[in-house]
């Protein structure tokens, strides 16, 4: 209420000062005293296994740190718990965050990374790709330390594409430079598979949103969501991107009934020649032992292949009392994971954020995942507002509009108006941040 001028946060900070002093005075850790470090993440499946490996690598490097790794359920549960933990002052020492979700955490819930501390550990922000840096630097403060970039990528079955005459002489996919060409390639692949040409999980909001946002940005679409409204959205670009989705989901080129699990499965079982999804499905394609490759998602509209991406990054959640030793260990651990991210990249398909790793010969030699490394330079993050980003309300609500269009329940015009209307409603209500 308005009278609570002495806010909870102020109180927390006051307590923090007291507690911090207590820690400093009482907690002179001897050489044998271990530091406890709580680390939260949301990685399951193959990414989960890779993350466990990164954590174990750090454990081996820093035997004096006792790391408690916690994997919470991905999506809203994770971000809600993290925000509540920050608001309650008992957040973990280090957490994983999608860079697109920074806005969700406002100004108070995360501490910034101290560039000097990073420099002391040999990391400088010049080492990160500019578009990613633009997202994680807020008012010149580094809010999140990027581990990777994971853009929408194009998977293709080399065998099917060869039979459909879609390969260049060198055996890679012949360049696709327009929407018509993509649809045509899909049609020809469908003739070969006898099923569909392109696999896309229409039922999975994050998948269909990735494609929509890439196309919308390629079309020059802008989406500005100022607090208080109204939403400034390029309706024409939205309609055009949705029209493409609708044309693609004609049941032959792509089926509108695929979801997050069946779409990669259709590609893995060679029911489709192409797959539109993030790079992490490289694991399932590899396990299926099909002939496939991956490439940067092409420019279907315009000249620049803008592509929707996000970045797994590390953040320092605000705590009521920061233990300096744990904070230092959090820096050590984050930097260690960045340095060791080659395994993260080669195993999970993510583009390493640290240039030292991205430029390493080991990464560059890794096929097919280094094919799309240039995508890091043209990545487009989700619109910047508190309810946007990976696993956000915006993503799931936009997914509904897009599914409506793909299944022909809505026309592209209706779909665009549905989405814009909802956005308007959200921002006129005012931000809770």
């Amino acid at each position: 209420m308005t009278t609570h001028r002495l806010s909870r946060r102020t109180l927390l900070r006051a307590t923090a000062v007291g507690a911090g002093a207590a820690v400093l005075s009482s907690c002179a850790r001897g050489p044998g005293g271990a530091v406890d470090l709580a680390y939260w993440n949301f990685f399951g499946g193959s990414d989960g296994e890779l993350m466990v490996k990164l954590v174990n690598d750090f454990r081996a490097e820093a035997p004096g740190v006792r790391v408690t790794g916690t994997t919470l359920d991905w999506g809203p549960p994770y971000y809600t718990k993290l925000a509540m933990a920050c608001a309650g002052g008992r957040a973990p020492d280090l957490a994983t965050l999608h860079a697109s979700r920074l806005a969700t955490f406002g100004r108070d819930l995360l501490d910034e990374w101290d560039l000097a501390e990073l420099a002391a550990r040999g990391v400088s922000i010049e080492e990160f790709p500019q578009p990613v840096l633009d997202r994680v630097l807020v008012d010149g403060r580094l809010r999140a330390l990027p581990l990777d970039t994971h853009p929408l990528v194009l998977y293709y079955n080399t065998d099917i594409c060869e039979r459909a005459g879609l390969l260049a002489p060198d055996g890679t996919l012949a360049p696709i430079t327009s929407a018509e060409q993509m649809l045509d390639a899909g049609r020809r692949a469908a003739e070969v598979t006898g099923s569909i040409g392109i696999s896309l999980g229409i039922g999975e909001s994050s998948h269909v949103w990735m494609v929509f946002w890439s196309l919308f940005r390629q079309l020059g679409g802008e989406m500005r969501l100022p607090d208080g409204g109204p939403a400034e959205v390029d309706r024409d670009a939205a309609v055009q991107a949705m029209t493409f989705l609708r044309e693609m989901c004609d049941g032959t080129i792509c089926s509108p009934t695929l979801d997050g699990q069946s779409a990669p499965a259709a590609f893995a079982s060679e029911q489709a020649g192409f797959l539109f999804v993030g790079p992490w499905e490289v694991t399932s394609a590899r396990e299926a032992e099909i002939p496939f490759s991956m490439t940067q998602f092409p420019a279907l509209f315009g000249d620049t292949p803008f592509v929707r991406a996000d970045s797994h990054s590390f953040v320092l959640p605000a705590q009521a009392s920061v233990d300096p030793a744990a904070r230092a260990a959090a820096y050590d651990m984050a930097v260690s994971m960045l340095r060791n991210s080659l395994v993260w990249a080669t195993g999970g398909g993510h583009i390493p954020a640290l240039s030292a790793v991205a430029a390493s010969p080991e990464y560059r030699a890794e096929q097919p995942i280094s094919n799309y490394r240039e995508a890091a330079q043209v990545v487009e993050f989700d619109p910047e507002t508190y309810f946007s980003g990976s696993g956000s309300t915006l993503m799931s609500r936009a997914g509904q509009s897009l599914q409506g269009v793909a299944t022909r329940a809505l026309t592209p015009e209706q779909g665009a108006d549905d989405l814009i209307g909802w956005l308007d409603e959200q921002i006129t209500f005012g931000s809770p941040l």
């Binding site: 499946g45 193959s46 790794g69 916690t70 994997t71 957040a91």
Partner: protein, 307 residues
């Protein structure tokens, strides 16, 4: 939050087995009244329902005993060729979290039970056997609390706990669970029925209210106290929403909350998921097997007045 009826109804105490029940718990009706055909029909129906109700548990148990690879066969295999293994149990127990949550759940449920029963019994005694100004008004206020579903209080309670610095603490989990006005009502009803002669005799001997409460009323109320304790314990052990809201530190979560929130870094492994689910459910099931009669009576006694 469960969908079992959970609003109190004071008027239901007449249903209590204690009140008037000529027969024992077992063999309530006379089976000989039925023709052999009817008996066969009844037994068949009982068996069908029992199979339907036990099948999910048995399937969960079988899954938890399989090797991970045997859980996802098409068509499904009831008994895998490779036989059964305790591997899934070993894995989830080795993880450590489950043990922590088990301890948390036990501590929370025991403390909630002891404190709730103590607070409720004292209040019920006060309302039933003593006189003070405003007693009836305060009792009415207490009974009115039965109408407040705890679910609608989560937002203000959360804010309150943050302000009190109790988020992510045992106290924060426990305190809001201590108020079950329906239990006060049930206990008061029981105390009302205790003959006054004993108390009068004690008073003549100079015993104060506290001594009468502790040495006369409570010992006479063992059965109802047991019933209330059983109900409160089940309620606290299985409570989800509030512990879910107030804990974000995995080290403080209770079993139901941790099980839902924290996943294995290795993705969904059905045998392990079922093993943790079964370990979380096992304690109360075992207790039920041992003390079926008491638990059934406890639940039936308090059920219609529970929260």
């Amino acid at each position: 939050m469960t969908t079992a009826p959970d609003t109190a109804n004071p008027a239901t105490t007449p249903l209590l087995p204690r009140a008037r029940r000529p027969r024992s718990d077992d063999g309530p009706a006379d089976v000989r009244r039925y023709t052999p055909l009817a008996r066969a029909g009844i037994i068949t129906a009982l068996l069908v329902v029992a199979v339907l109700w036990l099948a999910p548990l048995i399937w969960a148990l079988l899954t938890s005993l399989k090797q991970e690879a045997d859980t996802t066969t098409v068509p499904i295999e009831v008994i895998p060729d490779r036989g059964f293994t305790l591997q899934a149990y070993a894995s989830v127990l080795a993880d450590g979290n489950l043990v922590t949550w088990f301890v948390n759940s036990t501590v929370v449920a025991l403390v909630v039970t002891v404190l709730t029963v103590a607070l409720s019994a004292a209040a019920a005694y006060g309302f039933s056997r003593t006189r003070f100004r405003g007693r009836n008004a305060l009792f009415a206020l207490t009974i009115a609390g039965i109408m407040v579903p705890p679910q609608i209080l989560i937002v203000p309670l959360y804010r309150q706990m943050l302000a009190m610095g109790l988020a992510d603490t045992y106290a924060g989990i426990i305190l809001p669970q201590l108020v079950l006005p329906a239990m006060v009502f049930i206990l008061k009803k029981f105390f009302d029925g205790i003959p006054h002669e004993l108390e009068e005799a004690a008073r003549v001997d100079g015993a104060g209210s506290l001594r009468i409460f502790l040495q006369i009323v409570l010992p006479l109320s063992r059965s109802i106290l047991a019933a209330v304790s059983i109900f409160v314990f089940i309620h606290a052990w299985n409570n989800f929403l509030w512990p879910f809201i107030i804990t974000s530190d995995p080290g403080l979560m209770t079993l139901p909350v941790g099980l839902v929130q924290v996943q294995s870094a290795f993705g969904v492994r059905y045998a392990q998921v079922m093993a943790s689910a079964i370990l979380a459910g096992l304690p109360l099931i075992v207790v039920f097997m041992l003390f079926q009669r008491q638990i059934i009576r406890g639940v039936a006694t308090t059920g219609l007045g529970g929260t």
